[in-house]
């Protein structure tokens, strides 16, 4: 490992002549041993795109089996493995690493820092992941198959898992360590490495949302680690944490898991909120409306996310006072979330909008995430939830906030910043085609699931009564269309990176704000080795 290439501080002075473009030669040096935030960001993004395809393939198996009543393709146990792994891969392998990838690329540039605070730990945070997911995916090929108790892993059912159990727990531990290290890095970077003049309340919203998300991650990933460790000891070392016969309580697992699980879903969405707050102002040619409100709303959402977990457990037999508290707290989250939606719309209002692909995805996000948020409000009402819980109504809700929510925001971010990262423009025509096909098919896929849930179809079943046939078929068709459409996305990205002849300027778009747009496209391998001067007109917020 050659030290000069990863040595980014004092000896950098001579780099000013060649723009600090000392990329390491040699494949391993460049990619296995990298400590460069841009390369590590790229690794995370490639990894997450790959996992998105794998998780998507599992979804295709699910929708193919559910295409018609009757069992045509897979045994029920394998179907349960598919639903379990689909969720684990999408949540921990696709969405979270994608957000970390964008954080790595953008946070240092947005705050005028030369790199992340802890570049070597940054490398480790990434390289743990391919190892963890190889282990997780390999369980599908073990004799008793992969985990099949749902990504929520409730005991006692999860303790019936065969050989794969230890591997799943180990994989989750590793993903958790990766996330915790990544979050520590992000907080340390944001608190300590900002360029002079970049005060906290001048930072872009994407940096704010990631700062808050990083705190959430540090708070809850250890809790998940605790929960799965207790599962491990119950399974192998004769403890009885979740075994009633031994004096334990299966419901306690649910409390611990969802104490992690609810903040986790905000971890999946807060960076998305940040991205939308970056994109809408650029294409509305108007500053973000209510910047400080947006910061406070995000912090409020993060705080509230810790006190609502039991809304995932309304049917478990909680005392009345508990159910009421969680109902009220959950309903309350809609207030700061609504504030954000209203501020986004006010950003657009009286703007001068154009509708390039990032803007299309951002607008799609605001519309469709709002629908998901409204179904979430319905789910908060405990007595009604007695009919919604564990049905396709819940599946519809969380897929709306995750797919046309998080995933659309990830795509918006890709289209918005890929020209900056690569120096090449993507094909606007194919980007728009990708958007429209995705937006239509995602609704064909998930909207009918609201009807299925209300009509009585439970979750996590491989076969169903014929009264549910029509909407399942429509949903499956939407699913196949959505899946196929994402191949267009892969094509657009690949073409942009490797084949596009149209060069991107530094600004790329019309007058975007933020330090990353002051760098050339692509930026130097080591950017901001000298901290930039941050003046008021370079930041978006006119307040």
């Amino acid at each position: 490992m050659s030290t000069e290439t990863t040595y980014t501080d004092v000896n950098e002075t001579h780099d000013e002549h060649d723009h600090g473009d000392h990329k390491p030669t040699g494949f391993l040096d460049r990619w296995l041993f990298t400590t460069n935030h841009k390369d590590i960001g790229t690794l995370y993004l490639i990894f997450s795109l790959t996992m998105f395809m794998i998780g998507g393939a599992m979804a295709m198996v699910i929708r193919a089996e559910l295409f018609m009543p009757g069992l045509q393709l897979v045994e029920p146990d394998f179907f349960n493995q598919m639903t379990t792994m689909h969720a684990l891969v999408m949540v921990f392998g696709a969405v979270m690493p994608a957000w970390v990838g964008f954080a790595n690329w953008l946070v240092p540039m947005m705050i005028g820092a030369p790199d992340m605070a802890l570049p070597r730990m940054n490398n480790w945070s990434f390289w743990i992941l391919p190892f963890a997911f190889s282990m997780l995916l390999s369980t599908l090929f073990m004799d008793s198959g992969g985990p099949a108790a749902g990504w929520t892993m409730y005991p006692p059912l999860v303790l019936q898992t065969g050989t794969s159990f230890a591997f799943v727990v180990f994989a989750i531990h590793m993903m958790g360590v990766s996330s915790i290290m990544g979050s520590i890095n992000i907080i340390a970077t944001i608190f300590n490495m900002r360029a002079p003049g970049m005060t906290l309340l001048r930072m872009p919203m994407f940096v704010w949302t990631w700062l808050i998300t990083a705190f959430l991650l540090i708070a809850v990933m250890p809790v998940l680690a605790g929960a799965v460790t207790m599962l491990l000891t119950d399974h192998f070392f004769a403890t009885n944490f979740f075994n009633a016969a031994g004096g334990g309580d299966p419901v306690m697992f649910q409390h611990i898991f969802w104490f992690f699980g609810h903040p986790e879903v905000y971890i999946l969405i807060l960076p998305a909120f940040g991205v939308i707050s970056e994109i809408l102002p650029t294409f509305s040619r108007k500053p973000l409306f209510g910047y400080s409100s947006m910061v406070y709303a995000t912090a409020t959402i993060a705080f509230l996310s810790f006190i609502v977990w039991a809304h995932h457990m309304f049917t478990v037999g909680m005392p009345l006072q508990g159910e009421l508290f969680f109902m009220y707290a959950t309903m309350l989250i809609s207030v700061p979330t609504g504030v954000k939606v209203f501020n986004w719309i006010s950003t657009m209002w009286q703007g001068s909008m154009t509708f390039e692909t990032p803007m299309l995805f951002a607008i799609g996000f605001v519309v469709l995430f709002t629908i998901g948020g409204l179904s979430g409000l319905m789910l908060a009402i405990t007595a009604a939830d007695f009919q919604y819980h564990d049905t396709y109504f819940v599946v519809a809700h969380f897929h709306y906030v995750l797919v046309p929510g998080s995933i659309f925001a990830l795509m918006a971010a890709t289209y918005y910043w890929l020209p900056k990262f690569t120096g090449n423009m993507y094909s606007e025509k194919w980007g728009k085609i990708h958007f429209w096909l995705s937006a239509i098919s995602v609704n064909v896929l998930f909207f009918p699931q609201h009807y299925l849930g209300l009509a009585g179809m439970p979750r996590r079943i491989p076969d169903y009564s014929p009264q549910f046939a029509d909407f399942n078929m429509i949903s499956s068709i939407g699913g196949f269309a959505f899946g196929a459409t994402q191949l267009i996305f892969v094509g657009v990205v690949w073409h942009c990176v490797f084949r596009s002849k149209v060069k991107a300027t530094a600004m790329v778009w019309e007058n975007p704000r933020g330090l990353e747009w002051t760098l050339e496209s692509p930026p130097a391998y080591h950017s901001f080795t000298t901290p930039p001067e941050v003046t008021h007109n370079m930041v978006r917020h006119a307040e």
Partner: protein
């Protein structure tokens, strides 16, 4: 251009960042231990 003060500034920031990182790591481990501990002792 005199870059030494800048390099020192960067060094200072880095050292501070490492301290932040240690604190956060400690907090993470503490949360883990608290949860497992409360599950064991809260029986």
């Amino acid at each position: 251009m005199n870059n030494d003060p800048q390099a020192n500034e960067l060094k200072r920031k880095r050292a501070q960042a490492v301290r932040t990182a240690w604190v956060l790591g400690f907090i993470a481990v503490a949360i883990f231990v608290t949860f497992i501990g409360s599950a064991i002792f809260g029986r």
